[in-house]
């Protein structure tokens, strides 16, 4: 009987704590530094440590024009909160953007590689800005803390007998809460798009492409960005429904050329960095969605050639060379496919063709870092 009372007490006390709601009045307004005695101040302190690392991170993209373009876009979307937000573009090969309660925003190059225009990028940034304005990270932090505390004490009270049930209930409850925030961020992001005159089509398009990538990869685990988000099919449907309710500009902005102008100088490097992780099926979808590059008219064929070469499937050499040749036919001044053909043919009987391509590569790129070793190959070929 005594044990039963202890058990009951152990259950009721944490329930009382667990059900406590967040007192919205003590949450600082977005951008305002919270009082040092609050939970929020603790979260800020952690984020400031991460931000100090971000400032000097070796992964930062140093292109000033690109950084300035994304900062301006964030500012346009954030409106009155513009001065609160600091953007860090990081060279990380995965689809993701994050926003911390202290105003630190991370934009990963894997996201920039995948979105096709400014409206699509604005969709993701608007979503993150809504998280910031609505203080979602703080609310999640407190919610998770409360629920985990409740789980721990209930579990102790039950002597560990109900662990699986309690754990499922706790995780389910935390995830449901997170998904509600994601839905709210989707709606808020869409509203920002509408207010700033962007095409609302960009929003579902982003998720449609990510779903295709996910399906192609046949992985059980979704991308980082999607792991805490509602089912993408549900999200696409919701975004389409919500978009119909919102006012759209008669000439909605898509911003494809402005976007590409800033992205194209880096795009192939980001693609090749990500390709080296060998997620070939996803990268095929990414490649299909890349726009034609007026900078290097044959770039898409070059990247396809690289994809085939790295996959190393049957007859990959012939197939890759065909793609490189198409790239050269479209842009005879791009040295990259010339080098690629030369190297693939180096140890075949097509020595003449290998030599011609490598020589032309060096003539187009006289300051090539690998000039010395390419010259040694040419000497070896002796044709």
């Amino acid at each position: 009987m005594k044990n039963f009372h202890i058990f009951l007490l152990s259950c009721l006390l944490p329930l009382a704590f667990g059900c406590q709601s967040i007192n919205e009045s003590v949450i600082a307004n977005p951008g305002d530094r919270p009082d040092s005695t609050t939970t929020e101040a603790g979260l800020w302190m952690q984020m400031e440590k991460i931000e100090a690392q971000s400032k000097t991170s070796g992964n930062r993209v140093k292109d000033e024009k690109l950084n300035s373009y994304i900062e301006q876009l964030v500012c346009k979307l954030a409106g009155e909160y513009c001065s609160d937000i600091r953007v860090y573009v990081l060279k990380v090969p995965a689809f993701n953007a994050t926003m911390a309660p202290n105003g630190m925003m991370h934009v990963w190059t894997g996201l920039l590689l995948r979105v096709q225009n400014e409206a699509q990028l604005a969709t993701v940034l608007g979503h993150e800005i809504t998280h910031y304005i609505k203080k979602h990270s703080l609310k999640r932090y407190v919610d998770t803390k409360n629920k985990v505390n409740t789980f721990t004490i209930l579990n102790l009270g039950a002597g560990g007998l109900l662990t699986p049930v309690l754990m499922l209930g706790t995780i389910g409850s935390i995830q449901a809460y997170n998904r509600d925030h994601e839905r709210e961020a989707d709606q808020g992001g869409l509203k920002l798009l509408s207010e700033k005159g962007y095409s609302l089509e960009g929003a579902p398009e982003v998720w449609e492409n990510i779903v295709k990538e996910q399906e192609a990869s046949k992985k059980d685990t979704p991308s980082l960005f999607l792991s805490s988000h509602p089912q993408s099919t549900e999200r696409i449907q919701n975004l389409r429904t919500e978009a119909k309710k919102l006012k759209t500009s008669s000439t909605p902005r898509i911003g494809e050329s402005d976007y590409l102008q800033h992205i194209l100088p880096h795009r192939s490097d980001w693609f090749l960095q990500e390709l080296s992780l060998k997620n070939f099926k996803e990268m095929e979808i990414v490649l299909q969605n890349l726009a034609f590059s007026p900078l290097h008219k044959g770039e898409l064929h070059f990247l396809k050639g690289e994809l085939l070469r790295k996959q190393r499937e049957k007859d990959f050499e012939t197939k890759a060379i065909a793609q490189y040749q198409k790239a050269i036919d479209l842009d005879a001044n791009d040295p990259r496919p010339l080098k690629a053909i030369g190297l693939l043919l180096l140890k075949t009987d097509q020595k003449q063709r290998a030599s011609e391509n490598l020589k032309k590569y060096l003539s187009l790129k006289p300051d090539a870092e690998d000039r010395s070793i390419i010259n040694s190959y040419l000497k070896e070929l002796n044709v």
Partner: protein, 186 residues
């Protein structure tokens, strides 16, 4: 009761020490790295061996490391994993350097990386190559390194040095170069 407490402490200590990697001391005496070559360490190093990969470090693996990849056979991967593409003995030096960086990225916590300044250079008395390494880990910390290698009787041998770009690369770069210059055929 006292005895059983002591026993529990001993058990915990033994358990914890057993969980960690076991390093051994390498003294500055000529040492055979594989059946093909030996090197002069030049100073004392802490050594960790994992199958055909040998690590030497002075201040800790996260800060500086010299790694010996021994006798990688045709069709095998650099680090024994299944995801990386395998080494082929007919690969050019450029393909080897490219595969090396890819294998590091697949097997480590690297978000970006590249090789640079690839050149042909003797590896002891063997025809070989060397190149520079530039890597950034997932926390954004930049690393620099150097690698030297050779294909000897269809097997690839590589020694590489990797350290944080700030401080540790400069601290141990010359030690690595001295080790590479000391390579002797066995």
């Amino acid at each position: 009761m006292k005895l059983s407490k002591q026993f529990i402490y001993l058990f915990i200590v033994a358990f914890l020490t057993g969980c960690g990697p076991s390093f051994t001391l390498v003294k500055d005496e000529r040492i055979n790295i594989s059946k093909r070559y030996s090197v002069q360490p030049g100073m004392d190093w802490s050594q960790l061996k994992r199958e055909s990969v040998t690590y030497w470090t002075a201040d800790g693996l996260m800060l500086d490391e010299i790694v010996f990849l021994e006798s990688i056979q045709d069709g095998k991967t650099f680090f024994g994993d299944e995801k990386s593409n395998p080494f082929k003995s007919n690969m050019s030096e450029i393909e080897i350097a490219e595969l090396f960086i890819e294998s590091l990225k697949i097997n480590g916590q690297w978000s970006n990386g590249k090789y640079k300044e690839l050149k042909l250079q003797k590896f002891g008395s063997f025809d070989g190559f060397n190149f520079g390494i530039s890597l950034v880990n997932k926390d954004g910390l930049a690393y620099k390194g150097l690698a030297s290698g050779a294909i000897i009787e269809k097997e690839l041998h590589i020694i590489f040095f990797l350290a944080t770009e700030f401080h540790y690369y400069d601290k141990f770069k010359n030690n690595f170069l001295a080790i590479v210059s000391s390579i002797q055929k066995t």
